[in-house]
Every structure is written in C-alpha cells, then in structure tokens.
Symmetry: C2
Subunit: 168 residues, 2 copies
C-alpha cells in the first residue's frame, strides 16, 4: 500500500544542546538526563549515535524550549568535570521539521525523498531522528520556512490543508 | 497531567548499519538513502547527530531487517569511495526497545527513568532516538529481554497486559 503522508510539522521554539564526548559507559545517559530533569527542563528530541570504536565516547544531543536553555546548561556544567564531558554546545538557531505519516518503514524511498527535497532547496540537514510515523530533521531555523515549502511541494501536500502539529 | 506510558515495544529482527565519516555537506544524506532505497531496503530507525566542529563529517546509523543487510551494504560500498565515507559498520547483534506513551515531552523525568532502569539492570545504551510518543534505545540483542523486564518494572507496567507493538 502507499505510505500515508499526513503532513509536515515544524517547530522553531526549541534550542539544542549537544554534550560532546560523553563517556560511553553504563549509566552516563541516566546521569545526564536525571540532572536535566531535576532542573525541570522539558526534553523533546534526544539523539545519540554509537561511539566510534575505541573512542569510548559519544555525543548526546537534545532539544528543549529556548527559555529553559540556561537551566539545562547550568545542570550540565555542574556534571561536566566529574563525568568527563569534553564540551557542552548550546545552539539557539535550530529549527525542527517533521514529516508525519504512516507505513513509512515499508516505503524506503520516503526518507530519501525528504532528504532530497531539502538538498534541492539548498538546505543542510544537521540532525536526523526517526520513528515509524515521523521523520524529523534539524536545520537552521532561518531555513525552516523554505524547508517546509520544499517538503510540501515534494510530497504533493496542500500546504493550506495538511499543516498540522501532530505528535509522533 | 501524568505522562501516559502505554507500553514497551521490542524488536530483535533488525540489524544496524553505521556509515562512519559521512561528509556533512548538502545532499549527502539524500545520496545515501537514495542508494539504500534503490536496493529495496526497508529502513526503520535513522539516527544522525551533529558533526563535531571543524570535522566536516558525521556518522549516520540506521536499522533494517537482518535479511536486507547484504543488499544495503553492497549499495553503500558502491558509494563509499566516491562520497568519501570513512567506514561502513554492520552490526547484527542489536536489539531495539521503545517506551511508548503520550505527554512524555512535558515530563522530563521519563527519559531519565528509562535510562536509569537500564543502568540498574547493567545494560549499556548504544543509541537513542526519540519522538514525543516514543523513546527508543538500541542495546545488545542478548540484553533485550532483561531490558524489557527492567523497564516494565521501573514503570509499574503489567508485562502481561501492556506489551504491545505500537508504532511511533
Ligand atoms: C552514552 C550512554 O548512552 C551510555 N552508553 C549509557 O548507557 O548510559
Ligand atoms: C550529513 C548529512 O545529513 C548532510 N548534512 C546533508 O544535508 O545531507
């Protein structure tokens, strides 16, 4: 059956924190997010890729409301020395775009089509995180409106009808 | 309101490919996934974190059915030299666990609680990818059953009732 693409969600209300060089050991993700949660920070997207072999470290990124940036950074700075983080990066200029649909897993071309639409619009993809009903990318926030137009166009979506803030 | 945790999904049918050192330039994700899609490979989870400053490269990981591993690897090997990939890693020993729920974004402790349950069970987290209704982690597949038990227990879920393959 055809994948069902129901719409494009976009969000420029968030900032991104990347903790560079988190030791890839038992409990380090729990430690990090316990501290961020204790600071009352709402976390949206979390991305962690595998550690490169022998490096023993990996990077953990997450997005959060702009207004909670200071609280999150302070919580992480307090851990950085003890837990060996290499660096904490804070980025206020991100935008998040999500293609929302169903059945996307069994339609391998959907991701390629989304990434191709962004390429054709000259927009660099900074982060990717997916689920079976949502493919999310992070771009510069100044590119977000153009990205949304490009994706609507690539998928033949009627921008007036299908724009939806759909959770997934 | 309380976050609604509806269940724990787990999947050991997948393998993972990590393309190490993908040039962080316009169109590289599209190129990679166009090739994988052209090979007919079904893609489940994609994770890409930001490139470290000045490195100009990042890693892209994705999961796929075990039986499509060869096709995907061949497609990527064909691109590797031309597109400058540093290495293509193939991992057949992964398991994926997802905590499925609603309202998790506004309950910052949920991620910490999930990661803490895995830490307490002695299970290392290899990848993290989240959406507002699903927090997914990749572990060793041999740890998956223990991970599912630990998460059910940590969240007070009745393992017999709420185990569900819920897409998100
Ligand atoms: C890096 C982090 O995810 C670590 N592997 C952990 O299990 O917590
Ligand atoms: C690495 C990859 O995502 C690249 N930045 C792109 O836009 O395609």
């Amino acid at each position: 059956e055809q994948p069902l693409i129901s719409g494009v969600a976009h969000d420029r209300s968030q900032a991104k924190i990347t903790v560079i060089g988190v030791p890839d050991v038992l409990g380090s993700a729990a430690q990090l997010f316990e501290a961020v949660a204790a600071a009352g920070v709402n976390i949206d997207m979390i991305v962690q890729n595998v550690s490169a072999h022998h490096s023993g470290v990996t990077d953990i990124s997450f997005t959060l409301p702009h207004e909670q940036g200071e609280a999150a950074r302070a919580a992480l700075q307090a851990l950085a020395a003890e837990y060996g983080y290499q660096e904490i990066q804070y980025d206020e200029g991100v935008g998040k775009l999500s293609l929302v649909g169903a059945g996307m897993r069994s339609h391998p071309g959907v991701s390629a089509q989304l990434f191709g639409a962004l390429r054709d619009a000259g927009i660099n993809i900074e982060m990717i995180s997916t689920s079976e009903i949502r493919i999310s990318v992070v771009t510069r926030s100044e590119d977000l409106d153009e990205a949304v137009r490009a994706v609507h166009s690539a998928f033949g979506l009627d921008a007036d009808k299908v724009e939806a803030v759909v959770y997934g």
